[in-house]
Structures are given as structure tokens and as C-alpha cells.
């Protein structure tokens, strides 16, 4: 069925507008212009054909209007999606920058702390001896909840 619709969509919209107007005029003419011999002799055929055309063209006009409405909605959404994609890229950049900055601060502080420990190592080691059990407890605590 979509193939039929696709074929019909190839016809310019103006054709349906003109065809509808002509069909309405022909339908009216079949009643009004009784003095024209051709119309009088073919009145029934003209009425049937023009009525069929009116129904078909009205249906197509509805389709055209509906299509235009949806196309406008799609265009609107595409603009919104493009804006959202731009905002997403900007947010990504902003979040990554904040993350990198915070990690850098942690590394800087860690560097300072490690230097301080190294500087005071002799004094620290002289005044405090660590029991091996303390290390075992620390390591056990460090691995609590690890994946098996």
C-alpha cells in the first residue's frame, strides 16, 4: 500500500488543488449549464466522475495537510534535537574539565603528602615501630568486600 502512497506523493500538490477545483466546477456545471448540449447528454457521467474526483482529491488534500503538519513537527524536533546534541557536547566537555581538574588537585596534594612523609621519614620511623599485626589488619580492611 505504501507504494501507492509513494506514487501519489510524487504528484505535485498543486495538481490535487486544481483537480479538486475542476471537479467541483464540473459537478456544478452538470446541474447549471443545461444549455450546453455536451453537458446535457453526458450529465450523469460528469457527475459520477466529478464526485469520485471530489472525494479522492478531498482525501488527498487531507493527506497533504496532515503531511505538512507532521513535517513541521519533524522540522521542529530536528531543530530541538540539534540544540540538545550541542548542549550534550558542551555538558560533556564541562564535566570532563571539572573531573580532570579535581583529579589533578588530588594528585598534587598526594605529591605534597608523599614528599612530606619522605622528608620526615627518619623521625617518624624512630619514634614509632609498627607491629606486623597492624599491617595485617590494615591489609585485611583494604580488601573487605573485594570480588572473589
Amino acid at each position: 500500500m505504501w507504494q501507492i502512497m509513494w506514487l501519489l506523493s510524487l504528484v505535485p500538490d498543486a495538481v490535487y488543488h486544481v483537480l479538486l477545483i475542476l471537479a467541483v466546477l464540473a459537478f456544478g456545471a452538470s446541474y447549471i449549464l443545461k444549455m450546453v448540449p455536451f453537458i446535457t447528454s453526458n450529465a450523469l457521467v460528469i457527475r459520477v466522475v466529478s464526485a469520485v474526483l471530489i472525494v479522492f482529491c478531498t482525501w488527498m488534500e487531507g493527506g497533504i495537510a496532515n503531511e505538512a503538519k507532521w513535517q513541521a513537527r519533524v522540522d521542529e524536533l530536528e531543530i530541538k534535537v540539534a540544540a540538545a546534541e550541542k548542549a550534550a557536547v558542551e555538558a560533556n566537555g564541562r564535566i570532563e574539565t571539572v573531573y580532570v581538574d579535581r583529579v589533578r588537585v588530588v594528585k598534587e596534594v598526594q605529591y605534597v603528602v608523599q614528599n612530606r612523609i619522605a622528608k620526615d621519614a627518619a623521625r617518624l620511623d624512630l619514634t614509632c615501630k609498627i607491629d606486623p599485626e597492624a599491617i595485617e589488619i590494615l591489609n585485611q580492611a583494604a580488601h573487605a568486600g573485594d570480588k572473589k
Binding site: M1, V74, A91, D125, T127
Partner: protein, 86 residues
């Protein structure tokens, strides 16, 4: 009956989807790194060695915590942006 089927089929042709492709944005690579396991304190009786390992672990935890924060911020912001398109 046959005409009714044909007419209803014709009307159904109006129900054509008009999709607008969308994808949820990709997360920055830095945020997808898994947190490393905490380091063990080597066998020693020196406080400086213990302190070095413990402070390393603290720093590692801080890094991991920042990553989780960043991930949460990223998801919440991206979801807000994604949901704003209607």
C-alpha cells in the same frame, strides 16, 4: 466487504511514522575507567612506609569518588538535556 477492506487499508496508509533519530550521548572515556584495588601495605615496621601506602590509598579513593561524582553529574545533566526534547 471487499470495498470496506480496501478503503480501510487506504486510510491506514495515513499512519506513517515520521521518526527523528536520537542517541543518548556517549560518556567521556575518563569516567568509564574502573576503580583500582587498594594497595597492600608491605611487610615493614616503619611508619613512613605504612603512611605512604595508606595516603596512596586515600588518594586513590578520592580519585574514584570524584569519578563517581562526575559520572552521576554527567548522567543527570545528559538525561535532563535528553528529556527536554519533546
Amino acid at each position: 466487504m471487499r470495498s470496506a477492506i480496501i478503503v480501510s487499508l487506504l486510510f491506514m496508509t495515513g499512519c506513517v511514522a515520521t521518526p527523528v533519530d536520537r542517541e543518548f550521548p556517549a560518556v567521556p572515556a575518563g569516567l568509564t575507567t574502573a576503580c583500582a584495588a587498594l594497595a597492600d601495605v608491605p611487610a615493614t615496621d616503619k611508619l613512613s612506609v605504612v603512611l605512604t601506602t595508606v595516603t596512596q590509598n586515600y588518594a586513590q579513593y578520592r580519585e574514584c569518588s570524584i569519578r563517581v561524582d562526575a559520572w552521576n553529574t554527567w548522567y543527570n545533566e545528559q538525561k535532563k538535556i535528553f528529556d527536554s526534547v519533546k
